[in-house]
Symmetry: C2
Subunit: 337 residues, 2 copies
DNA sequence: CTGAAAGCGCTTACAG
DNA sequence: CTGAAAGCGCTTACAG
């Protein structure tokens, strides 16, 4: 099959100017709203372009202003099923505000510290700024972007200095959840999951520690199992916590939580009668679980929107907060009753 | 925090030309490989731009050629957890070939038949072509794109005429799987799942029917349960199939299969001892199931790559197949032993 | 309030 | 084989 291009020659700013007997300058000003222009003239132009459905060529506009009106989004390629919905939802938030400001999203993918595509996008001048959907303790994307000096924002926290970042307030969320559990007379709350080198794990642990400190209770190190990410390790951790007779098992994320719940079922330990369970993150994979699981809830779409707003502000030279922390909700359900 | 732009003035084609004492034309020709140019001259230019890391401004290049070097990808916004990995993997395939041809992906999202974003992207001249990741029986995106006459390709089949499409060969895949099961002496194979109005459902059913026809066996309509997409409906279907004592339950996709397996477990029906199970689609959600599930396997990354190749060929005015069907694998596992 | 002209960084007939 | 010049479709000082 041969592709046939339709023959409606694209209408340009010159066409509009000619048709109206004004200059291109005037048309341009009517559209952009910049520069002085008579009200009547502007309205004539606006009416005409609306009627004839004229749309400026973004490329030409970009070239004249040395801007692309694109923002690059760097998406992880080595995803796991669990955090895919997070990225998708966040992306929707980003897209929503991008479009509202007449920007588009240029998508690029890459594995951990593999940023050839990112470099290509930047070097070809295809974007005005970048959003990193994920960061690492040692992060070559961040280092590269800092070096070339292009505006960028990270989703999630990072320890690199001078990086603009937007994150959920994991520390305070965890502190509050644990505090509530402590108030409900649970005294011995075990912790399992998370990679120690992830910034978010540190935040969550800090929240846990603070809650104990505020309550004037001592920490028991032997019921804290960080770096348990494989199934076997999680099962071992659960066994030890059961031996130690913890009141509650708090899971660093919901993938871990799922495995904890499976293990408990295997062992015929009833939730919440024999042990309570809570998760520091909620997602659809826990949605339909019986009993329902107490967890922290974050507005991921809002996170995406905030990230994008921040980036666009930077691109337009406005001042932005170096670090923005978003809210959270503690959702109490059956599993801690 | 105030953003500081680094002061390394971008190097342009004029800078290169001046530095080498040649014309911009020559530099352009050295890079593009178009037009006559002396070997020695070309190599001098190439060496210089490599050393100074010069990269042409894609915007300017695009404007001069009236091209954007972007392709638009329309991603569903109303996703389900199950098909998210499909889109992600397909996107990776698309991205891989796009980058290799120096194109970028402009991402746009939309719900069923909501294509304001798509229109915006096209009207702003931000893309050279479009990939639709999903199609509908009545598809306004397709109708719009046909009207404006921009090159586009759909992932999956459609009944619209003159639409370039790439799909997995669902019909023959299903035919082969069912034929194999029939050869294994299963005679009564029940069917459950799928939305009748989806093109893919029709293809799968046709494969099933053909297999029976080839085997010279009669179809039993009362063990075919299409349009069972809610949990309750699937459970009812399973109950009826068990009553009818089918040899095997074939699931139209793996989300349905998951629910069928749950139901069977609830009813204490053992797989494969009491009833066999197979799925017409594989994905990670079935991966860890015990027993392992017989299913059809498709190379989704290859699908994405093919789609993108096809679109780029169209953009460059080459002839392309109107319909491309990709291969499949039948993966026999425990559940049909 | 409006316009002529230069410019953004490339490509590409055309001429030599 | 190489280059001067026009052009892609916009924006924006500058002048009036």
């Amino acid at each position: 099959m041969e592709y046939q291009k339709e023959n409606d020659k694209k209408i340009t700013i010159s066409d509009v100017a000619d048709a109206l007997g004004v200059s291109k300058t005037t048309v341009s000003r009517a559209i952009s709203g910049k520069g002085r222009i008579g009200t009547e003239t502007r309205e004539r132009v606006l009416a005409y372009i609306k009627e004839h459905n004229y749309k400026p060529n973004a490329l030409a506009k970009g070239l004249a202003q040395l801007k692309t009106y694109n923002i690059g989004v760097m998406l992880p390629e080595d995803y796991t099923l669990v955090d895919l919905p997070f990225f998708q939802t966040c992306l929707m938030g980003i897209g929503e505000v991008a479009v509202s400001m007449d920007y588009d999203i240029l998508l690029t993918m890459g594995r951990e510290n593999e940023n050839t595509q990112l470099m290509r996008m930047v070097e070809n001048h295809k974007v005005d700024g970048i959003i990193l959907m994920r960061t690492f303790t040692k992060d070559e994307s961040i280092e590269y972007l800092q070096k070339v000096g292009i505006p960028f924002v990270t989703v999630g926290s990072t320890n690199y200095t001078d990086v603009v970042q937007v994150d959920n307030d994991h520390k305070n969320a965890c502190r509050e959840l644990i505090s509530i559990l402590l108030m409900k007379k649970m005294r011995r709350i075990g912790i399992v999951g998370g990679i120690e080198s992830h910034v978010v794990t540190q935040s969550r642990l800090n929240g846990y520690l603070e809650a104990y400190e505020n309550a004037g209770l001592a920490i028991e190190k032997d019921i804290i199992f960080v770096n348990a990410d494989r199934e076997a390790m999680i099962e071992r951790a659960v066994e030890k916590m059961l031996e130690a007779k913890v009141d509650c098992i708090a899971c660093l994320d919901d993938a871990v939580c799922m495995q904890v719940l499976n293990k408990l079922r295997k062992e015929n330990v009833r939730v919440p009668e024999e042990v309570k369970v809570a998760s520091f993150y909620d997602s659809s994979i826990l949605d339909s679980h019986m009993p329902s699981i107490t967890s922290l809830s974050f507005n991921v779409r809002e996170l995406g929107m905030t990230v994008c707003h921040t980036l666009l502000d930077m691109i337009e030279g406005k001042q932005v907060e170096q670090r923005t922390l978003l809210g959270y909700e503690v959702i109490l359900k059956e599993s801690t009753k």
